[in-house]
Amino acid sequence: MTINNKIKKIKVGMASCGIAAGAEDVLNILKEHSADILIDEVGCFGHCYCEPVVEIETSDGESIIYSHVAANEKSIANILELGEDGRFEINPKRKAKELLKVTRLAGVIDPTSYEEYVENGGYVGLKKALAMNKEELIDEVKKSGLRGRGGGGFPTGMKWGFLAAKKAEQKILICNADEGDPGAFMDRSLMESVPHQVLEGMLIAAYATGSTRIFIYCRAEYPLAIKHLNIAIEQIKEHKLNIIDGRDIDIFVKEGAGAFVCGEETALIHSLEGQRGTPRFRPPFPTDSGWKGYPTMINNVETFGNIPYLIAEGAESYASVGSEGSKGTKLFALAGDLDNPGLVEVPMGISLREIVFDIGGADPEKTKAVQTGGPSGGCIPVELFDSLVDYDSLKALGAIMGSGGMIIIGKNRCMVETARYFLDFTHRESCGKCTFCRVGTKRMFETLERITAGEGLVEDLDFLAEMGPKVIKGSLCGLGQTAPNPVLATLRYYRHEYENHVNNKQCEALSCDKLVDIELNKDKCIECKLCIKNCPVDAVSDDFVIDNNKCTRCNTCIEVCPKDTIFRVKKGEGFYSE
């Protein structure tokens, strides 16, 4: 293969999303053919929709990005020649709206290289912090207006102040990396792409609060993040950055074991102590009595990720970005029904419309709503997309900021089924300690199951509306206090869908299996028999009629049909159904 002599460095996106899209094979072929050119394995630059991604740095200082790189010799040859095929330009609309602060180095540097992080401004914040006195430093964080990025939105500087004020032989700092919200991947991406930045934030916090020990409680489902964190911790120890105030600070990565409730502070501490992850009553707050009784402070990954640049640039500069009550930038993980899923960093106070349509590339005609905050949040209908994204505005709409997961829901999705899905998740994840959460979420889930199966009653809607607030009131921790949100929000904005399920036994979105039939349009059928061969329950007859009593609505025939002649229809409109 010919290699263009302008190529200085090759970067391959090797975060989880890249690897899932096949980046490993691309990397291997590149290694075979790139002679002695330096190949960097970098993290995620946020444009997950165009993975696998290869970026070429040229000797002119230019950067050329190739997207959707196929793992074959032809596509690699094109890249090494700096060919025109497959070049990728960031959508100018997105470029104009996003503001890269926390993710500035994500996808730019090799996450396993201490040197690259330092060359790009790493550990400047730590040095500056160590030169300040502790009160000054905490004041700086308070002045910046930074609020906890895990979803709660508690002022970070205040929390630091609580721990700093404690006198104890040991103080514990915990990084909450138990990103349990299904549909969110901001923390994963940060830990995989810029582990040093997250750790730098923790070291600054450890200095400010006088902490003696650091735990990172990370989901076991994130093996790459754990690997990169451990490499970075070793490098920190090598460079003796963990010696603060003359004391060695131990840093441990602890793997979570798969419990959503462990995102809650006191539950997380119990889990770190090797116990069942059940929350407990507060007070005492963790800053008074936490891990093994020591004063303990818990911050989220993204919160720590904000600290280095906050300190390096100063609180004033930090607070110049954002809205009245929410300062700085926020990461959002966009997924669902849109063209450009991925990770995006935007200033607080941007509108939903800008995030979903301009950046995410969702089709305004086909979008129904966006779900923020995962199972603890609520949906916001497209009509309200002019709302601003900050802690207070979202709360007023019945949703929450949450940790930053944003699922875009298309018009072809059923909101009742979406609510059922979230309650299915939360009722299983409820730890069982509080009766209202344990039994209440289960009853709400069962009610939603009945409604989506077409067996719902009008009274069921009243029951949901009545039970939701009771579960919120009767639960000790954030799980129960937010679990009914998806139901209450969908009831508020999409009551007509619920009513249609209950009164007419119909699902407009043709999503609820028990309320749809499958129909085959014989006029367009080419009689290829693929549907007959593939149907697992023999519901398609030899003359291409679907028996909806046998059919399990598994969609196999719809997927295999080459002419799109098979589709879902409202119950009673297909053949053979009663």
């Binding site: 929709y49 349990g180 549909g183 076991a220 090797g274 992850g277 993980a333 969609n555």
Partner: protein, 150 residues
Amino acid sequence: MVQNYDYLKKITPESSNLIRGLQAVQGQEGYISDDSILAVAEYFNTPVVETEGVLSFYAQFKRTKPGKFQLCVCDGTACHIKGSTLILDWISTELGIADGETDKEGIFSIETVACLGCCSLAPVLSVNGKVFGNLDRKATMKILKEYKKK
């Protein structure tokens, strides 16, 4: 055969390491058997009932032996709205086992997981940790076919 749990000795036997101990056992054996519970309880000096209490709390721990290929179908929000239930349905039908089961030969096991964190590639599944994204029926069947050959 008496199992050897020497690998536990790398972990300090204090109760806060109990979960790590269980994770080590699962990493080694693939699941946690009744015997393993006894061994872990003894090593960490915790009552057997407490050990079982902790392990039953967390979704990660398996009590039955998984297959050679462990299929995890992601049912995170993004995957769910993109049709992960259908994917589970197709795999179940193809392999003749339900969610949480292992086939008779011990080759395949299926489970649904909350989120693999690759939401932008939804719907996804993983086989022994290797993630496959943007699935439709054809892609799913191809993956199964490839692993059946191995």
